[in-house]
Amino acid sequence: MTVEGPKASEENHLRRILYIWIALSVVLDLVFWFAIGPHIPPGRMTSTAKDNQFDFNVLMVIGLPVLIGVWEWLAYAAIKWNAKGKNTPESVGGPAAAGNKRAEVSWIVITTVVVLFLAGFGIVALYAGNGSGGGEGPNPIQQPAGAVKAETDAIQGTGSWSPNSNEVLPVQVIAQQWKFTYRYPTFGGFESPDLILPDNTQIAFNVTSLDVIHSFWAYQLEVKADANPLENNVAFTKTEQLGSFEVRCSELCGIWHGAMFNSGQVVSESAFMTWATNTESKNAQNTKNLPPFAWTYVPDANGAAGGYYPDGNVTPYSTVEIYGSKQPS
């Protein structure tokens, strides 16, 4: 059986639809990319936020023509092939389209290319650029330059950071029911409920928990890392804009989970230096009472300090296993 090619009238319809589709797609893609794209959340406060926005915008630029194609076809069909109209031309497609090699091959090739491109793009985006596929976790594969040294110095208590030094700044995020606190190992290991970050600086977040599973989600920074007890979950980002951001727990963690949030700030490098040195000095008395800086901390195993009670028994008071006493040697 021979398959007839499309009739001339069908060719005209397809050509018209194609031209309209190309024109609309180009215009709307350009409008989206240049006018809307730069404002798409989570913004451009950090390198990871910028990457995330870029990824979303790429997906949108690819998805928009598909959406336009579907809507245009519907609109065209409703107007041109409306059965209520007089002298309605034969619609394109239907049984006549069965076995149309050109249509079949075009459909398979275009959708395959789009899907494979998106799969590849997604894999690269997850793996490169400190994405969650390789640049985060207890043992991140991808690490920015200087991160290993900064992290090693932090745990050894020899870390340093100064404005315009391009040094990585390790910041520890400690989650507990129901509050985040932050330790700065390069400034004497002081702890604070405030998260202040210097601009134009690579940050190494080291996220852990003192009790149940939480999740550190700094939305505008595009950093989201689970906070697990006895795990050091690492996430990197580079600050690129001044401003404030929100931190929320994104793992349901108990009655006050909804209130487990705070705001942070990206400030100039000099302002950060001033804040950090002032806070280090102001908190010096309490910092002496903190456990030495460690990647994870073992909660106290006694009464009111909050030990584990898996069997419902209250263990007697102990001064041995206090918070932070068990740390890597």
Binding site: I174, Q176, Q177, W178, K179, T181, E191, S192, P193, D194, L210, D211, V212, G254, I255, W256, A259, M260, N262, N283, Q285, N286, K288, N289, L290, P291, P299, D300, N302, G303, A304, A305, G306, G307, Y308, Y309, P310, G312, V314, Y317, T319, I322, Y323
Partner: protein
């Protein structure tokens, strides 16, 4: 049933459903004030500091959970101790707080809460002596903290030796610490306050039971315009 009757039935049912939906949405959108709010707004003249007195007890000794640790508050009008952790306070007003701490303590899970944060002068007094940080690894440790996370306020409540007071309200003849501090309320809104010492004995990580139930170790500040 006649056509008119059916129409009336359908209309009535429709109105009932609409009414229920409106009621449910309104209940979700309108911030409710928890029942039994202790009112401090009418207790003094506008602009004058509010005196808020609470006590912490190791076991409440009555009610559904007599062994649970809890806060009690002194009613500003009657002077009686009330088991209620929802307090209505005037906005933009200094709150002078006195805590009678009758509970024992231990080292903090996170010594960060040994600091006095967010109070006026960044300090508190413990039995008359001013302090800004307390080492929970010494003495009787810290029993509780009074904290309002969204306002970055936190005060460690130093523990006492033993826990001889078994039924609330406790009296001054039981061992206790007296802590005082002041803070200023922000604009109108609902602000939760809580304890950051996982003090619910018998629960995993110490954060269940009294730590996860209103009217025990946490509550709400309903801040309103006076």
């Amino acid at each position: 049933m006649s056509k008119g009757g059916r129409l009336a039935t359908v209309t009535a049912l429709f109105l009932v459903v609409v009414g229920l939906v409106v009621w449910a949405v309104a209940a979700l959108l309108v911030p409710g004030v928890p029942g039994g709010v202790v009112n401090f707004t009418d207790a003094q003249a506008k602009g004058q500091p509010v005196h808020l007195t609470v006590q912490t007890v190791g076991s409440i000794g009555f009610g559904a959970h007599p062994t649970w640790v809890s806060y009690l508050v002194q009613d500003p009008k009657t002077g009686k101790w009330v088991h209620d952790t929802s307090w209505e306070l005037p906005a933009h007003t200094v709150i002078d707080m006195t805590v009678y701490q009758y509970d024992s303590g231990s080292p903090l899970r996170n010594q960060e809460w040994g600091q006095v944060l967010g109070t006026i002068g960044h300090s508190a007094t413990l039995n008359g002596k001013t302090f800004s940080t307390y080492n929970s690894n010494t003495g009787n440790g810290v029993g509780h903290t009074f904290a309002i996370p969204t306002l970055n306020i936190s005060v460690p409540l130093v523990g006492v030796s033993g826990n001889p007071c078994a039924v609330a309200p406790c009296h001054f003849n039981s061992p206790h610490n007296i802590e005082t501090f002041s803070f200023k309320t922000p604009g109108p809104g609902s602000y939760n306050w809580q304890c950051f010492v996982p003090c619910a004995l018998g629960y995993l990580f110490g954060n269940g039971g009294a730590m996860s139930t209103q009217n025990y170790m946490g509550g709400e500040l309903e801040v309103v315009n006076q």
